[in-house]
């Protein structure tokens, strides 16, 4: 290269291209993301965390929890199934319709014990013509979507994490390492804040062979009786303080536990469909 100007120009062009691509473009695409509606319930998602949990997010950042815990669930794909939920009044027509879908289905057994899985589907779009046939006969059917993958099988979440899940987080900490388990849905797995407090104080008391360091500095040891403390930890023998003393969480520990309980990212979204088991009418294709 002949001159510094040329070096500058090259560097400028290269860097401005990636700046445009990875800084400007996501800002344009996602920077104004606000609450979205879940599909099909139409609830607003995500919901801002309550105040204490919001403070807990700050404790989470200050303690550097992100260096060992990710908040990202991966999924390999989805399993779609056509599920018959209502046989309708005209069972003959329903059976005829089912026979059109797949000859083997046109038996009376299919209509007993609803809801019943009729057939696996290649994807959600494949359901539309089939649903038309079934609803034409007066019956009702739904598409059930179940994400698959090792993270889902570990019950770390029901679906993969998407950009929408982080709208209210700041800083966003998806993490890059799993020295400990994923926490994207830890609030769904362990909804009890006292469990989290005990686990933070002495991980081994709650999880055998846990490799997590204890966070004793988030707690205070106080003599019993100096004041009523409703949330003193009820620890198993071997972890509890000596008689006459009790372990009391500090404000930071309370906030962190509230934050952990609030971690939950499993609402069905347009870009991440999932059928939640207890809800009867989610993700029915329209």
């Amino acid at each position: 290269m002949k001159s510094s100007a040329l070096v500058f120009l090259t560097a400028f062009m290269a860097l401005s291209a990636s700046w445009g691509g990875f800084v400007l473009a996501p800002q344009i695409q996602l920077g104004r993301n606000a609450q979205a509606k879940t599909v099909p319930a139409g609830d607003l998602y995500p919901v801002a965390r309550p105040g204490l949990a919001n403070q807990g997010a700050d404790v989470y950042r200050a303690l550097g929890c992100v260096h060992c815990h990710s908040q990202q669930v991966r999924q390999d794909g989805v399993k779609c199934e056509l599920v018959l939920t209502d046989a309708g009044t005209n069972t003959t027509a329903t059976l005829a319709a089912l026979g059109k879908l797949k000859p083997g289905l046109a038996t009376a057994e299919t209509l007993s014990g609803l809801p019943k899985t009729l057939m696996p589907l290649a994807d959600m779009n494949a359901a539309d013509p089939l649903l038309k046939v079934i609803t034409g006969a007066g019956a009702k059917a739904e598409v059930h979507v179940t994400p698959t993958g090792p993270d889902i099988a570990r019950q770390w979440g029901r679906r993969h994490t998407v950009a929408q899940d982080y709208v209210f987080d700041s800083p966003v900490q998806p993490g890059t390492r799993r020295a400990g388990p994923d926490l994207a849905n830890v609030g769904a797995r362990f909804p009890d804040r006292n469990w989290h407090l005990r686990h933070l104080y002495a991980p081994l008391a709650e999880v055998a062979n846990s490799t997590m360091p204890p966070y004793r500095f988030l707690f205070e040891k106080r003599p019993v009786g100096s004041g009523p403390v409703p949330d003193a930890l009820a620890l198993p023998a071997g972890f509890a303080a000596e008689p006459g003393f009790e372990i009391v969480p500090t404000d930071a520990a309370r906030a962190l536990a509230a934050y952990l309980v609030s971690l939950r990212a499993d609402s069905p979204l347009f870009e991440a469909p999932v059928t939640l088991p207890p809800a009867p009418a989610t993700t029915a294709a329209k």
Partner: protein, 493 residues
């Protein structure tokens, strides 16, 4: 305006002394400190309850303190120091405003210290490789701009450039260079000086001062980290490599065109790397980034080819000296680029994501490539600017400590990451059982960290020894002068 006279190398080196003492001295201190924090961080995996009562030394704070000290405490000032010296030497010009650069170096070290205290006190930003709190950002940026400004003034004033006095066009003054091209190291340094303020300002502004919302934060954070680790570090490190290899082997660089190819592919492809494959971002971003990571192997191969062609046939034994450092740096650069390129393949990244694998290749890049190249450059430059030799045995001992330490540090992490990842993919294996083999690998890597810490300590000792010897000689000289003058005065009276 007439052409300024070409400066003798000794004068150029002398002008670099003050800034380089500041930059390399601070870097050596930070490297030793970083090793200490790295060890503290690792200890949490040996005995989980070790720092249960001390928030400051818990893993979540010691680890960011390590990365902060290593990247901002060592890499940036060491890279700046080597870059300044290269600009001055290759431009055959004395470095501009050495006092100002020394001040900038001190300011930079202050910023690093403020950031370190912030991180330990719980003010870390939460973004990997950009852990410093917001108040440190402004100090670091100011310090970098001061040094960059002086570096550009130095580069602009290089004595090869002179106004053609008898320009045929008369009124139009035309700048020409007496040699047709800049040397490759100069391209790399100039591009790096331009690169860092841009990415640093973007990250500081968008992550601290005018926070973007939601995942845009992680996009910016990863873009910054990718540009820092995969473009800025290679630019600065390779600038030194392309100078040291031909200089020490006594053979011309093979070849300028290969270096140009490496430069262009590095800035064009490297800048798009950094997004992990499973990032919760729109799919086009990780995909594009994966493709770029794969293509970023091209400059690494070009550098390897250039290094082999340059060193082949030279009969200079490297004996654990700067040449060895530079060669090991090239190999580490290529291997870490290969590991990054491997993660571009979805089948592989599915296994390696979220494991120690990524930590392994990042530390290989940082320690194996950058720290090696820069300590080698420091061992080459410091004796020249100070006129004080460093004992070759200590340099050789440092080389082997770093080499064995780096290999022991990174290889178990890479291998352990793969086994950990394979187990993570099998949901029938309990999570704690997946973490266990990784823990074994991690504990082995601690041994490497100990060796690196020993090497860092030795480096600090060597750098301080040079500085102390120089200051001692200055004092001795001053004392001699003072006494001499007195004698003359007495003789005259």
């Amino acid at each position: 305006m007439t052409a300024p006279p070409s400066n003798p190398p000794s004068a150029i080196d002398a002008s670099c002394r003050l800034p380089l003492f500041g930059l390399f001295g601070g870097a050596a201190v930070c490297l030793a400190l970083a090793s200490g924090f790295g060890l503290i961080a690792s200890l949490s995996f040996h005995k989980a309850s070790l720092f249960a009562d001390c928030a400051m030394l818990s893993y979540g704070r010691a680890y960011p303190a390590w990365s902060h000290l290593l990247v901002y405490g060592f890499c940036v000032p060491a890279g700046l120091g080597a870059g300044l010296w290269l600009l001055a030497r290759l431009g055959r010009v004395e470095v501009a405003k050495p006092w100002l650069i020394a001040f900038g170096a001190k300011l930079w070290n202050l910023g690093v210290l403020v950031g370190l205290i912030g991180i330990l006190a719980g003010d870390a930003s939460g973004f990997e490789w950009f852990e410093m709190p917001r108040y440190a950002v402004i100090i670091l940026l100011a310090a970098f701009l001061i040094i960059t400004l002086c570096a550009f003034i130095t580069h602009y004033g290089r004595s090869r450039r002179h106004e053609e006095a008898d320009s045929p066009s008369g009124t139009e003054a035309r700048f020409v260079t007496s040699e047709p091209t800049l040397y490759p190291s100069q391209w790399f340094v100039v591009a790096a000086l331009f690169w860092f303020p841009w990415i640093f300002t973007t990250a500081g502004w968008l992550l601290h001062y005018f926070q973007v919302r939601g995942v845009v934060q992680v996009a910016v954070g990863w873009w910054y980290a990718g540009n820092l680790l995969n473009v800025w570090l290679p630019l600065t490190g390779l600038a030194a490599t392309f100078y040291l290899l031909p200089k020490i082997t006594g053979r011309p660089l093979q070849s300028q065109y290969l270096a140009l190819f490496a430069f262009l592919t590095l800035v064009v492809f490297g800048t798009w790397t950094g997004m992990p494959a499973h990032a919760p971002l729109p799919a086009w971003m990780p995909t594009l980034s994966g493709g770029a990571s794969l293509l970023a192997l091209v400059p690494a191969l070009a550098v390897v080819a250039s290094a082999i062609l340059t060193c082949r046939g030279s009969n200079v034994a490297c004996l654990g000296g700067p040449l060895c450092y530079a060669k090991f740096g090239v190999v580490s650069f290529a291997v870490s680029s290969l590991l990054i390129a491997l993660t571009a393949c979805p089948l592989i990244s599915r296994v390696t994501d979220f494991t120690w694998f990524n930590h392994g290749h990042a530390t290989l890049r940082l320690y194996g490539f950058f720290v090696m190249t820069m300590t080698g450059a420091a061992y080459y430059i410091l004796p020249r600017v100070s006129g004080i030799e460093i004992c070759a045995n200590r340099v050789r001992a440092n080389f082997w400590l770093f080499v064995i330490g780096t290999l022991l540090f990174t290889l178990p992490l890479v291998a352990g990451g793969v086994t950990q990842g394979a187990k993570l993919l099998d949901p029938s294996i309990l999570f704690l059982d997946t973490a266990k083999p990784a823990m074994m690998a991690f504990r082995m890597s601690t041994l490497g960290e100990v060796l690196i810490a020993a090497g860092s300590g030795l480096f600090l000792f060597n750098v301080l020894a040079v500085m102390a010897a120089w200051y001692r000689s200055v004092c001795r000289q001053a004392f001699a002068n003072a006494t001499a003058r007195l004698e003359t005065a007495e003789a005259q009276s």
